[in-house]
Amino acid sequence: MEFLGEVAAWFADPASWEGRNSIPLRLWEHVSLSVTALAMGMLIALPIGLAIGHSGRGARAAVAITNIGRAIPSLGWLGMVLPITLVLFERGGLGFLPALIALVALAIPPIVTNTYAGLREVDRELIDAARGMGMRESRILAAVEVPIALPVILAGIRSSAVQVVATATLAAVVAGGTLGDFILQGIFVRDLPRVFGAALMVAALALATEGLFALLQRLTTSPGLRAGEVGRAS
């Protein structure tokens, strides 16, 4: 209990809230890095998943992307990117940039997998009917396939988002700041209240992300689909 008091004292200390090592700054680094990475990951992964899912071609590529995504550890992405950005950008290759690249790479596989799987699950007869009604391919994708596959696609974005927020913590090892920095610093100088306090914030952030996307998934599910349960496809 005494320890929790020390954690509370860390949160209450005005010094924790100002300067170059403050809670708001680290939180901002964490959130901005995660949001940027997720947005860029979606920008890359959604078109790939939609193209493969709609045409049915390149399914092997989708499976390969999934497997690669699963086998490479998240810390591995950070490690692999760092030497490359250091060679290319020298000092600029440390910190935000390698963290961002690693997180984007990490965000892509679940979105590609689920988008592809979501579109493949759409009843072929519905697509034939749409085609018979004279819809163009792009219209079929936008008006038939995507709305039906949306819960599955969002489930993929949700996995990516949770993974990105989690791995943003590890960005601290490549000097990317984020709340993980408090944890690593705290372990280094044996300041356990700081370690614990930061970990609480990271856990809350991850659970909030999970909750936010769960809500989004529920809100965007077409009423026609709500009767049956749709789960994650991965």
């Binding site: 699963r70 490479i72 550890p73 810390l75 591995g76 250091l86 944890i183 356990l192 370690v195």
Partner: protein, 219 residues
């Protein structure tokens, strides 16, 4: 980093002992997590089979544990269990529970009722029925869960280097990122991926070998 070749194979050769040791540590940490995780999950699954209403809350709790980032979960445990293997294993085991419990329950649920009736009719006791009838039939689905849990755990074990433990994460972080030494980083990542792939393929083979009857039915 610019003055030397990007990947120094001579470093790998000179440090084979250390690298092999890190692989060993990695395997031990993974093995403990999967072993203990499997034991706990199996007990939970059997309990859930008796008391169905427990399924929802169990999945909710293990799901919440699963979404807590690994470094944060380690950090939350450090005040209690310190920078120790125990801290790492508690977290690693927690991550296996969601996948394993879900798969074991689904696997046991998938055993046809007629088969259970037949076993009962043959006078099998509950334990014997579980061991000789239910488990063999449920095995492929259970192993599928173990494969996912193992691949996930092998990746997560790398993070334990951040709380002062070894494993391949030591090559990625301590002798790699912290010294801007690419060779060590790539060696660690490559071996981690190799372990994950080997474990996945190995477990699949094991499952086929253990269930020869399933093979006959497949094309």
């Amino acid at each position: 980093m610019n003055d030397q070749p990007f990947f120094r194979i001579d470093w790998v050769i000179d440090n084979l002992d250390q690298i092999a040791g890190r692989v060993g540590e990695h395997l031990v940490m993974t093995g403990i997590a999967i072993g203990v995780g499997l034991l706990i999950s199996f007990c939970l699954a059997l309990l859930i089979r008796r008391v169905r209403p427990l399924y929802g809350p169990t999945i909710a709790i293990t799901g919440a544990l699963y979404s807590i980032p690994s470094l944060a979960l380690f950090a939350l445990l450090i005040p209690i269990t310190g920078l120790s293997l125990l801290t790492a294993e508690i977290a690693l085991v927690s991550y296996t529970l969601l996948i394993l419990v879900r798969n074991i329950v689904a696997a046991l649920d998938g055993v046809p009722a007629e088969v259970l009736d037949a076993a009962d009719g043959m006078g099998f006791g509950a334990l014997e029925r579980l061991w000789r009838v239910e488990l063999p039939i449920a095995l492929p689905v259970i192993v599928a869960g173990i494969r996912i849990a193992t691949v996930t755990t092998i990746g997560l074990v790398t993070v334990t280097s951040l709380i002062g433990l070894g494993g391949l994460g030591y090559l990625i972080v301590n002798t790699g990122i912290n010294r801007f030494f690419a060779t060590s980083i790539y060696t660690g990542v490559a071996l981690s991926v190799a372990l994950a792939v080997l474990a996945d393929v190995g477990l699949e083979r094991l499952q086929r070998w253990l269930t020869p009857w399933a093979r006959a039915g497949q094309a």
